[in-house]
Subunit: 252 residues, 2 copies
């Protein structure tokens, strides 16, 4: 069975895109066939892999049902990793599709024909619990939550869990929590360790033992359109995402 | 003429809330009468000032036209700073109001009776260019943009400027760019300095000379429900926001 992971957290700037790009790359390094879908109007995952969002039919045409998935899937610089690029046009879609029937199922229906040919499908979500994130949670069978070890990010976690439960009850009974991964973690800071302890108590085994440290190579890589593994494979950021991929592969 | 500043940037986690809370507090320290409005469904600015969002009539009742502003304005721990708290219910409002008439003017109309009694009104925006941020840009006469000195944040800047221009053309001819302030700035990092140089070239005088450094006291303060000035007035974070307030006061 193929695994479809929504990379979601309504808190902004917690490392969703960095996790989506680098986890997808790491899984491809472990010989998995991977598809990354950029569902964020900012289209950061798209530029983070060196692609242009707005050439030819894109994700918005897919969601409108006006382009087949085969037309929008693109190759990336990473062997084994394909992508459906994002687009700024997604921002208008939230308002435009607000009153459409089955508006929560648009992505699930659009990608249904192709998910079988990938081992992993990762969906990068925007920083909100609006229609795009709901579509990702309905299309996915697992949710992976990047969590910055800070107070505001922790504050939003219970609200996110409530939303996951509600999606499971109303639209997608098979949706389960894949896990929570701490990002930009600095073990020298009291705040980082306090948040880690609180999440461990709240979530227990759902917390990944891999923690992604703050590492400047992770934030430099996107300006070259490369994942960290291709930009600087010796960096701790790249190595930690390989470690996370191993944990994801072992967690069934 | 009172100044209404939308604190906006669709990129997540760039320091919008931290800037809104600490700039509002600093302006109040300089004897200004200040109102802070939390327009983000995460309601971080609300908890960052120690308030509870969901008690009694709130921002969503104000936007529906079902509560007068006087009913939703609350005192904070800071003398001279009042607040209209946020609420998780705002998330549903985006979809619910998507087809309402004058949906972009809801906030402007709701706060029109009270803006005259404040020197500064600051509006904390969610990380998107959706209906809430549009409402803030229509209600405001200036836009202050916190910008993290990172690649993905820089990438979104031109898109934000396009949106500001479009709001000026369609709904709010008086809207001007107040300025851009660099946040979480680390002068030891090549990336920080490269982004600063690029923004300076792109925007010139619109870039504030005050840069907010990365400072852990700024991220600890919200867990006590206090702005940095009340949590640790000796911290560089608190002092830099006082410096930013001075620049804002002098920039007419
Ligand atoms: N471990 C890390 N070390 C250093 N920088 C990081 C790390 N993870 C992410 N970053 C940087 O922090 C910023 C925020 O990360 P990112 O954009 O991936 O978060 P996001 O949750 O996708 O944001 P948004 O909510 O806007 O979609 C980016 O500039 C990114 O390059
Ligand atoms: N100068 C700083 N130094 C250290 N930490 C900071 C600084 N500014 C903000 N932070 C922390 O970084 C995180 C992101 O900041 P903040 O929540 O203010 O950004 P935001 O743009 O409001 O996010 P969102 O897009 O989710 O609304 C928070 O945990 C905050 O405490
Ligand atoms: Mg992102
Ligand atoms: Mg915020």
């Amino acid at each position: 069975m193929n695994r479809i992971l929504a990379i979601a957290n309504q808190k902004g700037g917690v490392g969703k895109t960095t996790t989506a790009v680098n986890l997808a790359t790491s899984l491809a390094m472990f010989d998995q066939e991977v598809l990354l879908i950029d569902l964020d109007p900012q289209a950061n995952a798209t530029s983070g892999l060196g692609l242009e969002g707005d050439e030819g039919p894109g994700i918005q045409d897919l969601l409108h049902g006006e382009a087949a998935p085969g037309l929008v899937i693109r190759d990336t610089a990473v062997e084994g990793l394909k992508m459906i690029p994002g687009s700024h046009d997604l921002a208008g879609l939230e308002i435009e599709l607000a009153s459409a029937d089955y508006r929560e199922f648009l992505l699930a229906e659009a990608i249904e024909p192709i998910t079988g040919s990938f081992d992993y499908v990762l969906i990068d979500c925007p920083p909100s619990l609006g229609l795009m994130t709901l579509n990702a949670l309905v299309a996915a069978n697992e949710v992976l939550v990047p969590l910055q070890a800070e107070y505001y990010a922790l504050e939003g976690l219970s609200h996110l869990m409530k939303t996951v439960r509600s999606v499971r009850q109303h639209w997608n009974p098979g949706l389960k929590l894949n896990g929570v991964v701490l990002t930009m973690f600095d073990s020298r800071l009291k705040l980082s360790n306090e948040v880690a302890a609180e999440v461990e108590e709240f979530l227990g085994r759902a917390l990944y033992s891999t923690r992604i440290p703050r590492n400047v190579r992770l934030s430099e890589a996107p300006s070259y359109g490369l994942p960290a593994l291709l930009y600087d494979a010796r960096s701790t950021g790249a190595k930690c995402y390989l470690g996370l991929a191993e944990e994801v592969l072992n967690k069934r």
